[in-house]
C-alpha cells in the first residue's frame, strides 16, 4: 500500500528481509564501519600507525570483495576476517567518541541516566550482550562498544542496556525497550551475530529479531511516525523533526505575534504556521533508521559490487542518523526552554 508523506511516498511499509540477508548486511555493514574508523585513524595518526591503518584497510576491502578475480567469502568467514582486523585497532590511536552518544542517552532517559557512567569504544569486536552486559557494577561504571560502531546510532541502545545494568535497574532490557523502542531487539539480535547456523545463539538472535519486527509493526502511532521519517530518509533528508503545522492551513487562525486575530498579516502568520516542526524523539529516529536499514539500505548494500559504493551507503545511513539525533536535541532544548516569539 502506498503511503503519502511530506517528503515522498513509501511504497512498502515494512519490507521483510531474509534472515541470511540480515546477517550478511550486518557483516558487510560492520566491515564498512571498521573501514571508516581506519580511514579516520590513518588521517590523524603518525606515519607508522597511519601505514598500519592503510594496510588494514586494504586487507578489509579484500576480505569483503574477495580481491581481484576472487569471490566474496561466506558470511561466517567474512565475520571472522572482519573481527580479526577489528582487534588490530588496539594498536592504533583512539578517536574521540561522538558527542551525540551522550546527547542520545540523555534524550532517552533524561535525569534517570547516570552521567558518571563511562562510555568506552574498544578494539573488541563484539558487543557485550546477555549476562556479559550485566557484568558491570556500580563500583566500576563502565560500558563498552566496538570501535567500528562508534558512529552507528542503531546499536547505541546497547550502551543503555549496559548502563541500566550498571545502575542496578531491574529488567534492564525491558526498560531500555520502553525508552528506545522495538529497535533495541534488532540491536540485540545483531549483537549476537555471527551465530553458527542451527546454533542456540542463532535461534536466540532470530527470536529477538522477530520480536523487534512484531513490536514495531504493532507500535501504532510510533510505527506511523517512524514510517514517515523513513520515507524522508530514503530521500536523503534529515529526520530531526516532524512537520506538524500542515493541519494549521485548514484549522483555526493562529494569529500573529502582536495578537492580530484577523487581517492580511494574521493570514500570513496563519499560513506560516503550516511549516512549523516539532523535534522527533530519539525512539522515532531509531525506529525509522531500522525500517530504512532493513527495507532500503541493506538490500542496496548487498546488491552493491563496488567497495566505495558500499561505504557510501553505510556512511549515508549513519551520518544522517547521527546528525538527526544531534539536531533534534538542539530543537528539543529550545522547545522545552520556550524560545517562541
Amino acid at each position: 500500500m502506498a503511503r503519502e508523506h511530506v517528503y515522498g511516498t513509501m511504497e512498502h511499509a515494512w519490507k521483510q528481509l531474509e534472515w541470511s540477508a540480515v546477517e550478511r548486511a550486518r557483516a558487510v555493514g560492520f566491515a564498512c564501519r571498521l573501514d571508516r574508523q581506519l580511514e579516520a585513524v590513518a588521517a590523524v595518526a603518525d606515519r607508522p600507525e597511519s601505514r598500519l591503518a592503510q594496510r588494514l584497510r586494504a586487507e578489509l576491502q579484500e576480505a569483503v570483495t574477495g580481491g581481484p578475480g576472487g569471490a566474496s567469502p561466506d558470511t561466517a568467514a567474512l565475520f571472522a576476517a572482519v573481527e580479526a582486523i577489528h582487534e588490530q585497532l588496539a594498536y592504533l590511536p583512539k578517536l574521540t567518541l561522538p558527542a551525540g552518544v551522550r546527547v542520545f542517552l540523555r534524550a532517552l532517559f533524561d535525569q534517570e541516566w547516570n552521567e558518571n557512567v563511562v562510555v568506552a569504544a574498544v578494539s573488541k569486536p563484539r558487543w557485550p550482550v546477555g549476562p556479559e552486559a550485566a557484568a558491570g557494577s556500580p563500583d566500576r561504571p563502565v560500558t563498552v562498544m566496538p570501535r567500528a560502531d562508534m558512529r552507528n546510532p542503531l546499536m547505541w541502545p546497547l550502551i543503555a542496556v549496559q548502563g541500566a545494568s550498571v545502575a542496578g535497574w531491574s529488567d534492564a532490557e525491558e526498560r531500555v525497550r520502553r525508552a528506545a523502542g522495538p529497535g533495541v531487539w534488532f540491536a540485540l539480535a545483531e549483537a549476537l551475530l555471527p551465530a553458527g547456523a542451527g546454533s542456540s545463539a542463532e535461534a536466540e538472535a532470530q527470536a529477538l529479531w522477530q520480536r523487534g519486527r512484531d513490536e514495531l509493526l504493532a507500535a501504532g502511532r510510533l510505527y506511523d511516525d517512524a514510517l514517515e521519517l523513513a520515507a524522508a530518509l530514503a530521500d536523503g533528508i534529515l529526520i530531526s523533526a516532524k512537520r506538524v503545522g500542515a493541519k494549521g492551513l485548514d484549522g483555526q487562525p493562529a494569529g500573529g505575534p502582536d495578537g492580530e486575530a484577523s487581517g492580511e498579516r494574521a493570514e500570513v502568520y496563519r499560513k506560516l504556521s503550516a511549516v512549523r516542526d516539532v523535534p522527533a524523539q530519539a525512539v522515532e529516529i531509531l525506529s525509522a533508521g531500522w525500517i530504512h536499514w532493513y527495507g532500503h539500505a541493506a538490500p542496496k548494500l548487498l546488491a552493491a559490487g563496488d567497495w566505495q559504493r558500499m561505504r557510501e551507503i553505510v556512511d549515508g545511513v549513519d551520518d544522517v542518523l547521527c546528525r538527526s539525533l544531534d539536531v533534534a536535541a538542539i530543537h528539543r532544548f529550545y522547545a522545552t526552554e520556550g524560545a517562541s516569539a
Partner: protein, 218 residues
Amino acid sequence: MILNEHQILERMLTDDPERRIVVTPILDPVQQFGPSSLDVRLGPDFEVVRTSRLTHLDPLKEPAEIAGDVARYTESTVIQPGEPFVLHPGEFALASTLEFIRLPYDIAARLEGRSTWGRLGLEIHATAGFVDPGFSGALTFELKNAGQVPLPLYAGLRIAQLAFFELSEPSRLPYRQKRYTKYAGRLGTAGSRYFQDPEYVALRNAARRAKSTSSEEA
C-alpha cells in the same frame, strides 16, 4: 526574481518534488520568515585550524597526504545544547547550518548574515555565500569575529538568512548532479577540499617534472 515570504512558503509546501524547497527543521516560522528571506540557525559542529605546528598547507602534495595534514591540523568540536563555542576576536572557524537544505533545480539562494550579529562583528562567510540550484545538505559558515570582544555562540542561534532566487528556467547542471562536486550531501561542517580541484593534478604533474629535471641536471 527574489522570492517573498509567501512564495518561499508556497515552494516549501508544494506537492511537486521538482519545485519543492526543503528546509528542516523549522523551529519557529514566525521568527524565521522575513519579507524576502528565511533565517537559518547555527549547527553544533565547528572546525578550527590549529596553527602551532603548521607552517603552510602545500597543495602540491598527494591528495591523501594533504587530507591527512588537514585532519591533523584541524580541531573538530561538537557542542551540546546550551553550551557555548567562544569565537575570539580575529578568530576564524568553520561551522554549518542547523538546517538541512535542498533546493530544486530552478531555485538558487544566497546566504547572508543578520544585522543583529553584524553589529557585534560576526561575519558568517568569507566569500562563499552563493548556493547553487540542486544543492542538498547543510550550508557551511565561514565564521570570523571581526569585533573587539569574544562572542559565545550557541547551537540554534539565528545567525544568518537565506534569500531565494527563481531561475527563468531550471538548471540542466544542478549541483548534486555535477561531475565535480566536493561538498554535495554533506550534513555537517565540511572543511576545504581545495586540493581535490582538478587544476592541482596539472600543477602536481608540472612540479614533479620540474623536480626530476633539476635532479637530472644536478
